[in-house]
Amino acid sequence: MGEAISGAGFKILAREDFSDVTYSLVVHHPLMAKAAQPGQFVIVMSHESGERIPLTIADFDRKKGTVTLVVQAVGKSTKEMQQTCQVGTSLYGMVGPMGIPSPLKGKKKVVCVGGGLGVAPIYPQARGFKENGAYVIGVLGFRNKNLIFWADKFRACCDELILCTDDGSAGIKGFVNDGIKLAMQGHNDIDEVVAIGPPIMMKACAETTRAAGIKTIVSLNPIMVDGTGMCGGCRVKIGDEIKFACVDGPDFDGHKVDFNDLMTRLKRYAAEEKAALDRWSENCRMMNMTPAVTRASEDADPAAALPDPFEEALGG
């Protein structure tokens, strides 16, 4: 037990780059792989002076003792991780699984909706529903054909799969809510829709199902610090109540979530985040490093192509 949760960090065993900005990390943590349930998340610190970043668990393998995280490089920390988190390196901190697991039992027919980065965390839910005997309809949304990932993994656990792309380069042309409409046309006995993605997308999904009264669960990912209910930074408005996404969620009834409040609150450190990113990019430029990593598909072993990231990028 000691090895996995002691000071040695959490080893990255595999990595896959889905696009210029999206990558997955397979992290060794047998205890967490054993405990993780669909719908839960972790908080990661890539290095000692880093910030705590909540990331939804995209997959777990109890036999291999691994947990898979999918990260989108949008800010300083996630871009830095894109550079530094290579196979063989370790994460300084990883704690979880956090949040209340999604209830998967007792559903006959469900629609699992993932948009963009939300495609990854919806996967264990779709698989979980299938294992519990439900008829699973997957609805996945990407900007274009080149950004599609894990479609085969979904095909293996979904009874139907509806792919949506913004430009129509694969599947249907449209957003995931168009995909939900398609599913609703085909089936009038949907028990539940589960949607994970950017807040604006989850809002659109909730609006799509509201009139039909189909229960719609969304997974919220607001700004967090500790993830254990201690700071209240992740509070969200659910109907008349205030809830903490970290310990009361992250799943909530999409028809009750105040998405506008959530989106405003997500922007509260926008200025600091931008300043940090600018500063970091400038440092990278001065150190003659490229801020983005070459794509894995073009380079068999991205780790070999880069200098040891922890030596240079972190220093102290």
Partner: protein, 500 residues
């Protein structure tokens, strides 16, 4: 050693002042405000203790430190001896000397205090604790392994105290912490200018010397449950000291606006995540120009003084009662006033007003007056009709208490009380055999020393449960200084050093 009996007239009449950083200078940094006593100052203050035959101060201390005995040792310039006396009851002298509300505990019942200012017991305790850290003294008794494995959930003051008491009789103790660093509220909550993190780290290092293991990044309840600790992971007894830590909301319109945050969030960002050193550390911190802090407890005082140091132009304290009822330590209120915090007593927030972009623009407040006493014995504040006014502010920090953290309740079958705290008997045993709980997760928000007292009490319960006979390792040797092959015999782990 016969001593001349001291009387209230013969002792130094004035309490020995302690050097403090200039308020104008210190509000620009996070250095510790109270510089602590020098040896001469400590000796002078120790002189003021009357050595009462029936000392009230011991009973006034939640962990019953033998206060006259340690002060007597200081008078004899035997600081190591003083440390031994304190360490017998309290492992964290340097911490408690700084953060205990002495005025309501030991110093509150000090006999000298009836006619003069009470003996500065807290300052003396801190002096001894700091010397111990400086001289690297430890009180590690040698104990044969008892064979019992103890799991402790939470590395705050309750968990640390319990860990020490279980490690001393030779148990194999592991402390689990959800954050990436141990220390709990001592690390994330109390700022450096009041309790430097280096002091906390020194105390944790002492625990490690006792053989206590710390496992960080471990969220008990979710990574494994209390039941699993007992049934699968082989812990013979478990102590839960997870703290209350679910901040109470203001419950007024606008309390989710950007710029409204809990004191816990502000302090965690600043202290543990070191946002005060942003951008060298990645965690950002909100910076308001005119900050209103709601509440007047120690956490509120910490939040106000942190905001001043982060560069706020104005910091206001909004409290619905008066200074007399405010729960913070007297020294903290005094320091906050010195540093320029503006106190608005008898004022309560009614609504947070936005700037149209989701940020705080102002706050509407109402004046209060004190009415009849409530259940807590304090006079209940009642709103004064028609006294509402607008108050310009761009950041609101609320420090109005906490509720029970739900994680352990969500993930175990432990019995909770109706407020969601863990239900225990008088020995702090929970509804599950071998599982004990103490500190804020049982009582609701309280002080560091009360949490430590609970940790020690639970340890006694656990020892009884496991039928561990106390080794009496707490009795300090009184023999004169002797060394044995260069090893100080007072260092009670010498047997272990020899073995190693």
């Amino acid at each position: 050693m016969a001593k001349k009996k001291k009387t209230i007239r013969s002792i130094p009449q004035q309490r020995t002042a302690v050097r403090e950083l200039d308020p104008q200078v210190r509000v620009k940094n996070f250095e510790e405000v109270n510089c602590g006593y020098t040896l001469d100052q400590a000796l002078n203050e120790a002189e003021r203790c009357l050595m009462c035959p029936d000392p009230a101060c011991i009973a006034g201390c939640p962990v019953n430190i033998n206060i006259p005995k340690f002060i007597d040792a200081i008078t004899a310039k035997n600081i190591r001896g003083a440390y031994d006396v304190i360490a017998a009851s309290n492992l964290l002298a340097a911490v408690c000397g700084r953060v205990c509300p002495q005025e309501t505990q030991c110093e509150g019942v000090c006999v000298v205090g009836e006619s003069l200012e009470p003996v500065g017991i807290g300052r003396l305790e801190r002096f001894v604790g700091d010397q111990a850290i400086k001289e690297k003294w430890t009180n590690v008794p040698y104990a044969a392994p008892s064979g019992f494995k103890i799991g402790i959930v939470g590395s705050g003051p309750a968990g640390m105290a319990c860990a020490a008491d279980m490690a001393k009789p030779g148990c194999d103790v592991t402390v689990f912490e959800a954050f990436h660093e141990p220390g709990g509220v001592l690390k994330y909550g109390i700022p450096d200018f009041r309790l430097p993190n280096s002091v906390v780290d020194a105390e944790i290092a002492n625990l490690r010397k006792l053989g206590v293991k710390f496992e960080c990044n471990t969220l008990v309840g979710r990574l494994f449950t209390i039941e699993q600790m007992r049934d699968e992971l082989g812990f013979d007894a478990v102590f839960i000291g997870t703290g209350a830590g679910y901040p109470s909301m203001l419950g007024i319109p606008g309390d989710t606006l950007n710029g409204v945050l809990s004191a816990n969030e502000l302090l965690t960002r600043c202290n543990l995540m070191r946002a005060k050193e942003f951008p060298n550390y990645d965690t950002p911190i909100p910076l308001g120009k005119r900050v209103a802090v709601i509440g007047a407890g120690n956490t509120a005082m910490d939040a106000m003084r942190v905001c001043l140091r982060l560069g706020a132009e104005k910091v206001y304290c909004i409290y619905r009662r008066t200074r007399a009822e405010c729960p913070a330590r007297a020294e903290e209120v005094h320091h906050a006033m010195e540093e320029g915090v503006e106190f608005h007593w008898l004022t309560a927030p009614v609504e947070v007003l936005d700037d149209g972009k989701g940020n705080v623009r102002a706050m509407r407040c109402i004046k209060m007056e004190l009415g009849e006493p409530d259940d807590s014995g304090r006079r209940r504040p009642v709103p004064v009709k028609g006294s509402e006014f607008e108050f310009e502010t761009d950041q609101i920090v609320f420090a109005i208490g906490t509720n029970a953290n739900p994680i352990i309740g969500q993930t175990s079958k432990l019995k909770l009380n109706k407020r969601g705290y863990i239900a225990t008997d008088e020995n702090l045993a929970t509804s599950m055999a071998g599982v004990y709980a103490g500190g804020d997760i049982v009582t609701g928000a309280a002080t560091v020393i009360q949490a430590m007292g609970a940790g020690r009490k639970a340890a006694r319960g656990m020892k009884n449960y496991l039928r561990i006979r106390d080794t009496g390792a707490e009795a300090a040797p009184e023999s004169p200084v002797a060394t044995f092959f260069g090893i100080d015999l007072r260092e009670r782990n010498y047997a272990r050093i020899r073995a190693a």
